[in-house]
Structures are given as C-alpha cells and as structure tokens.
Amino acid sequence: MKALFGNGRVICALVLPGLAVMVFALVVPIGFSAYYGLTDWAGFGKFHMIGLANYLEILTADPVFWRALLNALILMLVTIFIQNPAAFALAAVLSHLPARFSRLLRTVYFVPAVLSLVVITKLWVNIFNPTYGILNKVLHLIGLKSVMISWLSDPRTALGAVLWIILWQGFGWALLFYYTGLMTVPSEIEEAARVDGAGWLQAHLRVIIPFMFPVISAVIVIDVISSLRQMEMIFLSTEGGPGSLTQFVSVYLYQKAFIAGAYGYGNALSVLFVVVAVGLTLVVQRILRRNDDAQ
C-alpha cells in the first residue's frame, strides 16, 4: 500500500480528477473574468482591450465599491460581536433547559433558517413598510403616533434594517452550531470547574468557551464568507439603496455587468472581490489559528 501511494503516477491519477474540477470550476472562470476585466465589453458585440483602466478606476475612483466593502465589514463585525455572543448565550441557556422545552425553542429559533430567503425578505419588507407595515403600526399603538419611518429607504435606518434581516435569518444557524458544540462538552469539565469554585459565568468564560474554540472558529469563518457574499436579500429589498448605503459587492457587480452594460467593469470588480475575499479569509484564519495555538 505504501509503495502504491509512493508511486507518482498513482498519486497523479488520484489527484487529477479533483484538480481538473477545481481548475474548470474555479481557475478558468476567474481567468476569464480577469481577461474580460481588461476590456470595455458590454456583454455582447465588439470590445477593446483597455489594460488596467477598469481595475484602476475601481480602486481609485469608485466610492460605491469601497462603500460595499465597508458594509460587508460592518456586517461581519456585527455578526461576530453581536449575533454570535447572543446565539452562544441562548444556546447555553437552552442546553440547561428540560429537553422538551429546549427542543421546542430550538425549532422556533431555527425556523427562519429553513425558510426561503425570498419569503423572509418579502416578510420583512412588508413589516418595514411605512404605510401598511406592522412595525410602524405597533409604534403608533404604543403612542408614537408621529413616527412614520420608511425603514428601508430612510438613509438613517436603511443599513440597520437590512442588517437586522440578515442577522435574524442567520441566528438559527449560529444557535444550532453552538448548541451542538455545547452538547459535546463533557459535563465533567463543567463540574470540575464548579468544584474548583467557578461560578456559571466563570465556568463558561474560562473552561467551556476555550473548549468550544474550534466550533467558534468555524462559525466565524462562515460568518466572514457569508458577510462578503450577501446578494439575494439586498437585491430583493433595497438593491443597494438609498444611494449606495446598503450596497454589497455581489449586488454591485451584478448591476454593473448586467444592468449598466459594463460587463468588463463587472468582471474587474469580481476579480478584485475574489482577491479581497481570499485575503480576508486567510487573515481571519491566521488570527483564529494563533488564538487556537495560544489556547
């Protein structure tokens, strides 16, 4: 067996199919995108090579691209530092509840995660509707009669409203991960910490969270990736508006390539987006690995 796996040809034969899939599914499309990013192609008809003009324009003179990246960063931070701790705390509470209650509540919290994103987005667009939406109606009921906020189109509230929908939809997943992770923590560890005099909070902070670090790392990496690739929800609710306040890169490059007829520019955006996404994922993984080693 050792000799078999030491044979170069065998290794090649085993690696080649997977590699071929990778090359055709990833490298070739990115290569094409990089090439078309050097053109002024509208998506059909003739085109000209314009060198790095698209890339330079994106990096130096396109505030929407930077706004889209900033929004992804804001979403990432909100997910990691608000959604995750909340999901962890709730998972910790659920793990101590009687099984029947815990199961019921877990199902309730997980419902948004199994619903179609289109349904969820339309649901919230209707809730946020200033004229007939339930949110403004509730505010009126509790006495705030003058409040008539257009949650998704008011520059002051649009990003917050969009982030809320994303967090609401993703909360069930985070909860599921943390709950499953907590179930794998041996009860002896917590009991030992309690015997040593640690309280509930201290036991979680000093013992359980460090034990769960691999789960936390995985959730953070998923959060980073999903923050970057936000598309459908934005497209169905604000399309990046008002202005570009809720713009995300995937929506922006789609609008450029397929609506504005700037296919070359859209491709250049997608290449830069890949670079940013890979770079950011590597940085996050390095930080997490360092923390993991330190544990």
């Binding site: 998506g43 059909f44 004229t131 189109s153 508006g241 008002p242 202005g243 609506i259 007829g261």
Partner: protein, 421 residues
C-alpha cells in the same frame, strides 16, 4: 404484418407532422396574459397560429428589468427569441443593432399600417429600420376621481405648487396622495426631465447637454434639480417611494389607496384591468403634468416618445415567418389594443363613443400637445449613463446629495459617456 404496416404508417404521419411543426420563440415584458396588453398579444398569437397551421408560439415574459437582463444574456449566449418585444432606445436597441443581433426590416413593408409620423423613425439606426413601434408613450398623472371628490377637490391642479398643496388634503383622509415606481428609478429620472422642461421651456436642452453643447451644471438643470427635490419631498409620494417597485405602486393606486399615479400612457389599461374593482375602473382618469408658476414650460409641452417595439433576431431560422408575424401584429394590434383599451398604440386609432374616460383624455392630451420631448434623456446615451442618471436621481430623492452635486455628477457622467460613443 398488418400491425407492422399500421405502426410504420403511424410513425410516417407523426414524422410528417413533426417535420411541419415550427415553434416560434417569442419574448416580451407582459407577464399578465389574461388582461390588457398581454391578452391582446395572446389573441394575435392565437389568430396567427390558426392562419398558419403547424406553427407553435412559445412566449417568455418577465417584468421590465429582469426581461432586459434576460435579453442581454440571451444575446451573449446567441439564444435570442425569434421575435421579441424590446425598446427602441440607444441604451437598449442600439447595442443589439451594433452587435448584429437584430434583423434589418424594410420600411416599405410597414408603410400601410398607419404608424404615427415619426414613430417608425424612432427605430431607425444608421438609416436602417430595425423594429416596429408598438406604443406611443406620454408622461401623465392618473387620478382617482372618487378619491378627489371625497377629499373635496373639485378642480384639477394646473401648477406644481397647486399639486403639492393637495398632499395634506389626502393625508388627512388616510390616502396616499401620489405613487410611482421609485425602486426602479427610471420614472424619477423621467420626472426630472419634465421638471427641467417646466423650468426652461425647452426639450432640446437635454440633448444639447448630452452632445456637450450645454452643461448639466447650467442654471436651468440645477433649478430643475431643486424643483425635483422639492417635488419628491413635498409629501406627495408614498413614504417608501425608494423601495416601492412598479407592481407595488400600481397596486396602491388600483386598490384605491392612492389618489394619483405618476406613470406613462401605457397604463391606460388600468381602466380595463379586471384585477381592480369596478368602482376604481370607472373612476380612473388622467391629467397633464402641471407647470411651475414661474417656469417657462407650458402645460401642453408633452413628455412623449415612442418606446416599445418589436424586433426579429438576426439568428432566427424562420425569418420569413417572423416577418409575416410582425406584419400581422402591425395589422391587428392597434384595433385590438384600442378595443380592449389596453394601451396607447403608435398607430392611428379611431376614437369611439364607448372609449373609457382615461382613453379619451389621453387622446386629448396628445391632440393638445404643442411640442413633444422625444426619447427620454436616460435612453439617449450609454447604458452606463442611464444607470448613473438613475442612481444620482435616487441619491437626490433621498437627499443624500444636493441639487448642485447631482448636476455635477450628471455632468461628469455625460462627459464620460460622450467619449465612449
């Protein structure tokens, strides 16, 4: 043996039928096939199929924006429908013409179908005809007569100032004064066009700016932007204007929740749309876009153009049949569209006593027009300029930029577009 012969004969007949059967692929932006315009097209298709046995018609329909994207993708993939509805604009048809995707037509073939003067010309690029126009588009304000009466409004506003003053009267009744599609932004960009004309009284200024003979930062454009911002923020429109799409805004009006609907004459079919109540349908009417008290524009200066058209794919295998269909469409469409009061055709129609009030009014608005705008500004330049114009108008509508910044951005985009064309 007998059985074998029967089977073989059956196969021959089936094969013969198979060979005769032709499927014409079509595309349009008329998702509702049971009422108004979509129903007219279905009737034309049914008649055409009956007159041409063995011809099948398969139609793909989507709302405007997804449809335009779909056509671009089909063009790239060389899978355009044989015959499809599109728009004559430089932002939409010209890229297809430049790419050689659209078949050239013979103008003489369509001379006898009563097209309104100038309408066929809107489909001419480089001296060649590429499509037939289907609708005459005018920018008007639809209104619900009953809701006006309920609010105690007896005279229609003739100035924008009077129009803006109506907002509180409707709001106290729990009615939205006016709705339009703000999400897609093109109605907002068209409204900016109209307001600039209401300031300077000159429809040619927009083209001059695109030709770089004037600047979008000139005082009349800046004043137009100021008037636009004032108009959008006057409380007339629905609170969620910027996220309210075509269907949502149309429904608010059709369901009697809004008193006015700022839209084009293609919505004439509202009066015949059975999705809405009889009460609504009998109360829908239209009036001319008002003027500014201190502006140079007149109420009979009409924002009007010939937008929608039908074209044939140059890659179609059945070009003769496609052309036959197009001629049949040109022959049948104006009569059927007017009979059903579905839309305002780009061909001569005979007014009838039974026409709906809104149809009569639209005919009058067109007859009263002293001058017309032609194609809207957003569709006179590049697709990127159109996208920019719409985005800047969105930003201005949300007061994220000032009228002066809006004009500066428009100027920079027009400068860039002029170098690309």
């Amino acid at each position: 043996m007998k059985k074998l012969i029967v089977v073989m004969l059956a196969l021959c007949v089936a094969g013969g039928l198979w060979a005769q059967s032709i499927t014409l692929k079509m595309g349009d932006n008329l998702s509702d096939r049971t009422t108004t315009w979509g129903a007219v097209v279905e009737q034309i298709n049914a008649e055409f199929k009956k007159a041409n046995p063995g011809v099948e018609i398969v139609t793909e329909s989507y709302p405007d924006q997804p449809y335009q994207q779909k056509i671009k993708i089909y063009a790239t993939a060389k899978q355009l429908p044989d015959v499809f509805k599109y728009w004559s604009f430089s932002t939409l048809l010209k890229p297809l013409v430049d790419g050689g995707f659209v078949m050239e037509l013979n103008k003489a073939d369509f001379a006898k179908y009563g097209f309104v003067p100038g309408s066929l010309e809107s489909n001419v690029w480089g001296g060649k005809l590429y499509g037939i126009p289907v609708s005459a588009d005018m920018w008007v304000i639809y209104y619900n007569k009953k809701l006006f009466k309920d609010a105690g409004i007896t005279t229609l506003p003739t100035t924008i100032e009077d129009l803006e003053a109506l907002a509180p009267k409707f709001k106290t009744q729990g009615i939205i004064p006016m709705v339009t599609d703000g999400k897609d932004a093109w109605p907002l960009s068209i409204t900016y066009d109209v307001l600039v004309e209401r300031v300077n009284g000159d429809f040619s200024r927009q083209q001059a700016a695109l030709d770089r003979k004037a600047k979008f930062t000139d005082p009349d454009f800046v004043e137009g932007a100021r008037q636009y911002l004032k108009f959008v923020q006057s409380g007339l429109f629905q609170e969620d204007l910027m996220v309210s799409d075509y269907g949502a805004s149309r429904n608010l009006f059709g369901q009697g929740k809004a008193a006015m609907y700022l839209m084009g004459s293609w919505e004439m079919g509202l009066a015949a749309d059975t999705n809405f109540s009889d009460e609504f349908r009998s109360n829908v009417d239209a009036f001319k876009f008002p003027v500014l008290k201190n502006g140079k524009g007149k109420v009979d200066d009409l924002e009007a153009w010939y937008g929608g058209n039908y074209v044939i794919s140059s890659a179609s295998k059945y070009k003769d049949l496609d052309l036959k269909y197009l001629k049949y469409y040109a022959e049948r469409f104006p009569g059927l569209a007017w009979e059903r009061q579905a839309t305002f055709p780009a061909q001569k129609v005979e007014p009838r006593p039974s026409d709906s009030p809104v149809a009569k009014k639209l005919l009058k608005i067109l007859a009263d027009a002293k001058k017309t705008s032609g194609t809207t500004t957003i569709d006179r330049s590049t697709p990127q300029f159109k996208e920019d114009h719409q985005n800047f108008t969105r930003e201005l509508s949300s007061a994220l930029i000032t009228p002066e910044e809006f004009c500066r951005k428009l100027e920079a985009s027009a400068e860039k577009a002029s170098k690309q064309q």
